[in-house]
Symmetry: C2
Subunit: 347 residues, 2 copies
DNA sequence: CTGAAAGCGCTTACAG
DNA sequence: CTGAAAGCGCTTACAG
């Protein structure tokens, strides 16, 4: 079916058209449509002009407005990779929602963690004169950000620059107490930690999120009087790592009453190791975790976990960018507990 | 730390600045920088102008160019929901990559499947005069698309309109032969189908992808001489559905040699049911599936599956949009077999 | 071969 | 109270 569906551009209705159609000047139309209070045009004319504008389907040309104002009502979002986990997609959702509320649109770019790509994306967005730039990172490693000398306001999400910047982070430290408290409510007194993170342990300042997650956890567990039977260091946080570590833990002679997993993928591996060992996850061995990725809901029993609040972080970024004065503060966003079925009820 | 990091806008370098700095007219600078061949300016002057432009860090103002040309070098991508599965995020990656290659940027909006949101997003993007619009859908249900009377070229990804449109679909029918052929290579002669889709069975024309997936499958299985021991109809395609169906299948008396699962989530549920039944997925019971979501790689053994080529579909959309004449054709993108560990080797 | 001028669609300071 | 004019930064048809 060779139907040509590329429609030829029909000329758009302009301010001049509205002016002509309603028999007043462009100035008047502009004043009326923008509700300028200073110059009082008769309400009758105003109503008539508004009506014609509406009838004609007039929409101001944004390119013209941008040229006039030097503002584009556009925000840029640059992320490392959108396909991996909920990380970027969650931020996108939050950013889009908040941007829409403020009548802004958002431009996207992906860097795959490569510095030249980042630099190029920043240049491109500055070039398009976005009103603000949001940089999203998958892990919160401290890094030196290139190409940020431009004059556009910047907010970092889930990351830090070596320069002072506005940034938004999940409140990992508080998440630790959330978990410890929930465990206490289930009357659990001995837990195993599957696992810590090798590189983060070696360079804590480079991995603020991971470091805070475990600092919060150990401090809160102690405060709740919950003992740690052991903690397994992992190279990475994939199911296979969780599987191996949990297997090693089960081979030991210090059985815990529950497992705290570093993240949901680790928990998935832990489930597999428990099953292999004849232990029903969540029943014979309660499990709690961090992140709330998609798989958390798919697991059987569904996994109770503390959510990384990507959407809220994205929203917050927009609010800060559009809300006026930007200061080089770190903003913490709370991590909610997502209660599912892998933990005994509170008592 | 209250450092103000909102930098005041320093005036951008304009064409006029370059002209003044190099002692020629704006016309000349424009001609030179755009490599207009017609008017031959001395190569010496040209070089000097290019040099000053570079030194000054001149970048043409896009708003001005847009105003002049009525083109924005911007594409719009509207999707239902970006947080769910790889669906939208994969398309985004493909779209961004292709757009970058053509020196375009992309604007995003999310509709959550709501018609008013869709209508609004389309209006907003037309208003911003995107050069093309990509509409991405999560399931390929036939639907009536509102607000598309605008003059902007449109491509549908993973969906159809009641109007003739350019659209891009995965080649589900061919995927059926891919699966059947792979099974034949593993010397499998009897399979169970977990499961079909109730609504798709009732309204095949509304669910082209699902319908094609199973049509391709049954036809190819027959061609390869592989028998179907049974097929289980599912209300939905989540792990719990796969679990229930597989359990029912296992209770029957027609044991298959392999399972074909409707998608990876169904396969995840099948794994759980198999394990419960003391059967090792992939070893005692080979499994093959469709989609290649994240979980496919996490499962143990990792799942062999036929990938939904979202990235390629996104790329293709951009190519079509920017490649000139748009015709109301359906473009089929091949679905590659992702070989992992849930199927015996080929013989 | 090169420059002055007009115009894309808007807004606003300035006259009338 | 209302309109003509200038200008945002670019490109191109038109004179010189």
């Amino acid at each position: 079916m060779k139907v040509d569906v590329s429609t030829p551009k029909t000329r758009r209705v302009t301010l001049a058209d509205v002016a002509a159609a309603s028999g007043v000047s462009k100035t008047a139309v502009s004043l009326i449509l923008n509700n300028r209070p200073d110059s009082r045009i008769s309400e009758q004319t105003a109503a008539r002009v508004r009506q014609t504008a509406n009838d004609l389907g007039y929409r101001p040309n944004l390119a013209a407005q941008s040229l006039r104002f030097g503002k584009t009502r556009t925000l840029g979002f640059i992320s490392e990779q959108v396909t991996v986990t909920r990380f970027a997609s969650g931020m996108i959702t939050g950013i889009l929602r908040a941007a829409k509320q403020h009548d802004h649109t958002v431009l996207m770019a992906e860097t795959f963690g490569e510095e030249p790509e980042l630099r190029q994306a920043i240049a491109q967005m500055s070039h398009r004169e976005v009103d603000g730039l949001i940089l999203g990172f998958m892990d919160s490693r401290l890094r030196e950000l290139p190409g940020l000398e431009s004059e556009v306001p910047v907010v970092l999400v889930n990351g830090h620059d070596t320069q002072p910047r506005t940034c938004i982070m999940p409140d990992e430290f508080a998440a630790g107490s959330t978990v410890a408290h929930r465990l206490q409510q289930a009357a659990i007194t001995r837990v195993a930690l599957i696992g810590t993170h090798r590189r983060a342990t070696l360079h804590p300042e480079s991995y603020p999120s991971i470091t805070r997650r475990f600092a919060g956890l150990t401090q809160a567990l102690a405060a709740e009087g919950i003992g740690i039977t052991g903690q397994w260091e992992l190279e990475d946080w994939n199911p296979s790592d969780g599987f191996t570590a949990t297997r090693a833990m089960l081979a030991g002679n210090q059985p815990p009453q529950a497992l705290i997993c570093a993240n949901d993928r680790v928990a998935m591996g832990a489930y597999q190791a428990l099953a292999e060992h004849g232990l029903r996850p969540g029943i014979d061995m309660p499990v709690i975790s961090f992140d709330d990725e998609d798989i958390a809901a798919y697991l059987r029993p569904a996994l109770t976990t503390v959510r990384l609040p990507y959407e809220q972080m994205g929203e917050k970024a927009v609010e800060l960018l559009l809300g006026g004065q930007l200061t080089a503060d770190e903003h913490l966003v709370p991590m909610p507990l997502i209660e599912r079925d892998s933990l005994p009820a509170r008592r």
